[in-house]
């Protein structure tokens, strides 16, 4: 199973976007199996549960189990499936690839999953920057309607589904499922209080399931090849299936790589089929394993580090969106932390106090340290601010994400921070004279 491409099977092929290519390759067979093969929504849900599929958007929640949270008797309210294509976690670019290169795989996954939860109207919430992805999806949806895979009475089964592409407009927080729901309702994308959970009370007040693009694509293959097949791929039952990994940073060959869940970190970085080692032969200094929201790992910690949900929890980090960002020995960790804090300060929705005030504060302190105006107390201050922002202090876990890079960088590279403060410059890395030390326009630091 090592080398077989399941999710990326058609990527790179000529005309991979067209429905003709997809169907010729066995596409929409799963849909036929389910809709005309007498499957019930419950049977499909059970298969997905048995497969062990866990959400590939960042939270890693078991998908089949999530589907069962839709109330059996939802009092006549419609059920909605929302495909979360808001991919905005720094370091992540797998959903973009899937949508741009193989849109029908995603669409078929959406139709199947909609059937499983008895949804008649589904939306793809795609980030505004993916203009091309939206165009490609819209064209593919048109093709699917034309071929009768969407719309009324699909494949004569009586099941009907409408699918609409809904474009976001620049807000990372709309990747949070309730932020997405609020945005789809035409409001500011401010996450909601949970409970109630979307499965009970979601978009337009109706039961809603939000699933990631890659998760939905997996459903196609679970149907085609069976839950058992899916469950056997990967390190163990709780971490199963094929996985897309996004590799970027100081490696020779950044890119999206498919491998069974649980690929070793070092294999991803150094393997001939993957990253092919560090650019310029430099040494690894730190690796972010799961997007900006994941605690960074040191070079020692990536020895024997399986890239799956439980493997990274064991390392006190997380798989998240499987975005692996590699930093080499020339990287100033303080600067990296400052850059990450800028992201979170920009993307905080602002509704609750600890995050709204804490994220800019963290960024300001890190900026001061980076610019040579730090104090030794600032290092403890960073930890203190972080610790009082998370663990229930906020409405959503954005704050918990924002503090991960701060706590992990300060915790694991404290000496570097101290050096920065005491010497008013970076410990490592060539800093040319015209290099701007801060990533923020200086006018704006004051605000």
């Amino acid at each position: 199973m090592m080398g077989e491409k399941v999710l990326l099977a058609r990527v790179g092929r000529a005309d991979s976007r067209s429905i003709g290519t997809y169907v010729a390759d066995g596409g929409y067979k799963a849909l036929r199996t389910v809709l005309t093969g007498g499957w019930t929504p419950e049977k499909l849900t059970d298969e997905v549960k048995k497969s062990g599929l866990r959400g590939r958007g960042g939270a890693g929640f078991p998908t089949g189990v999530k589907w069962t949270f839709v109330p059996k008797d939802n009092k006549g309210k419609p059920v909605y499936l929302l495909c979360n294509a808001d991919e905005s976690e720094p370091g992540t670019f797998k959903d973009r690839l899937l949508m741009e290169e193989d849109p029908h795989q995603v669409i078929e996954g959406i139709i199947l999953s909609s059937f499983a939860i008895k949804c008649r109207s589904a939306y793809i919430y795609i980030r505004g920057e993916f203009y091309l992805g939206a165009r490609i999806l819209n064209k593919a949806i048109e093709e699917a309607y034309a071929k009768g895979f969407l719309g009324e009475n699909i494949l004569g089964s009586g099941y009907a589904l409408d699918l609409t592409v809904h474009r976001g407009a620049g807000a990372y927080i709309c990747g949070e499922e309730t932020g997405l729901i609020e945005s789809l309702e035409g409001k500011r994308g401010q996450p909601r209080i949970k409970p109630p959970f979307p499965a009970v009370w979601g978009v337009f007040g109706a039961p809603t399931i939000v699933n990631n693009v890659e998760t939905l694509a997996c459903v196609v293959h679970i149907v085609n090849r069976g839950a058992e097949w899916f469950a056997k791929i990967g390190r163990n039952e709780k971490n199963s299936g094929p996985k897309l990994y996004c590799l970027s940073g100081a490696v020779n060959r950044p890119g999206v790589y498919e491998a069974p869940m649980g690929l070793q970190m070092k294999e991803l970085l150094f393997g001939a089929d993957f990253g092919q080692g560090m650019k310029g032969g430099k040494k690894v200094k730190a690796v972010i394993p799961g997007g900006a929201s994941a605690a960074m790992l040191t070079a020692e910690e990536i020895e024997d580090c399986p890239l799956d949900f439980d493997g990274l929890v064991a390392k006190k980090s997380m798989l998240g969106s499987a975005a692996i960002v590699v930093m080499n020995e020339d990287t100033c960790i303080v600067e990296a932390a400052q850059n990450l804090s800028k992201f979170f300060a920009h993307e905080s929705c602002g509704q609750c106090t600890p995050c709204r005030e804490g994220t800019p504060w963290l960024h300001k302190v890190l900026t001061r340290i980076e610019e040579g105006r730090g104090r030794l107390e600032d290092i403890d201050l960073l930890e203190r601010i972080s610790n009082q922002m998370a663990n229930g202090m906020t409405i959503c876990v954005f704050a918990d994400a924002a503090i991960a890079p701060v706590l992990s960088s300060v915790g694991k590279f404290r000496d570097e921070f101290r050096y920065h403060v005491e010497n008013k410059r970076c410990l490592v890395g060539p800093r040319s004279d015209d290099a701007r030390p801060s990533t923020l326009n200086p006018q704006l630091v004051a605000s």
Partner: protein, 172 residues
């Protein structure tokens, strides 16, 4: 991007959607159970029609969707991709999140800004270029990644950027 999104500007003209845009809006309205849910797509239609969203446009959208203008303002200013002012013909969007940062994105952006003689969020006097800083646009494996209007250019470097700017400058 760090710049504050507080004020709508007046265009000085009433905002009337042309017929084809109006038709698009009508189609959009059929895809949602509430008018309010169509707000983001309709704002995109407005931006595609005028290039930016003026105070008049915001009020017109509010009218069409039965929303208060304040609600429309709240949405408009929350999402960074809606232009609250006219932008240059080429909106140069430089990603400066972690992977692109590691690849020198800010240096590239600053150099470009210096050469064009403008600061961030500013437009060149000839109206051809506006530079903005954006967060991760999912081009991390081809860092530094950037967009010009709706098109990705990645990976970018000084030479390619100079050539691109020259070409776009020459375009009418």
């Amino acid at each position: 991007m760090s710049h504050r999104r507080y004020n709508l500007e007046e265009s000085g003209r009433p905002a009337e959607f042309p017929a084809d845009a109006r038709a698009r809006i009508d189609r959009i309205l059929t895809r949602y159970p509430t008018k309010q849910a169509a707000l983001l797509p309709v704002l995109w239609v407005a931006q595609e029609t005028w290039g930016w969203i003026s105070k008049e446009a915001a009020e017109e959208v509010a009218k069409i969707l039965d929303l208060s203008p304040a609600h429309v303002d709240g949405v408009l200013t929350f999402y960074t991709m809606y232009n609250l002012r006219p932008v240059g013909k080429n909106l140069l969007q430089f990603c400066t999140s972690i992977s692109c940062h590691l690849a020198g994105a800010e240096r590239l952006m600053d150099r470009c800004a210096k050469r064009l003689g403008i600061g961030l969020e500013e437009t060149t006097p000839d109206g051809k270029f506006t530079i903005v800083e954006v967060e991760c646009i999912a081009g991390c494996d081809k860092a530094p990644s950037m967009m010009v209007n709706d098109t990705y250019y990645e990976p970018m470097d000084e030479r390619k950027l100079d050539a691109l700017v020259e070409k776009l400058s020459a375009d009418a």
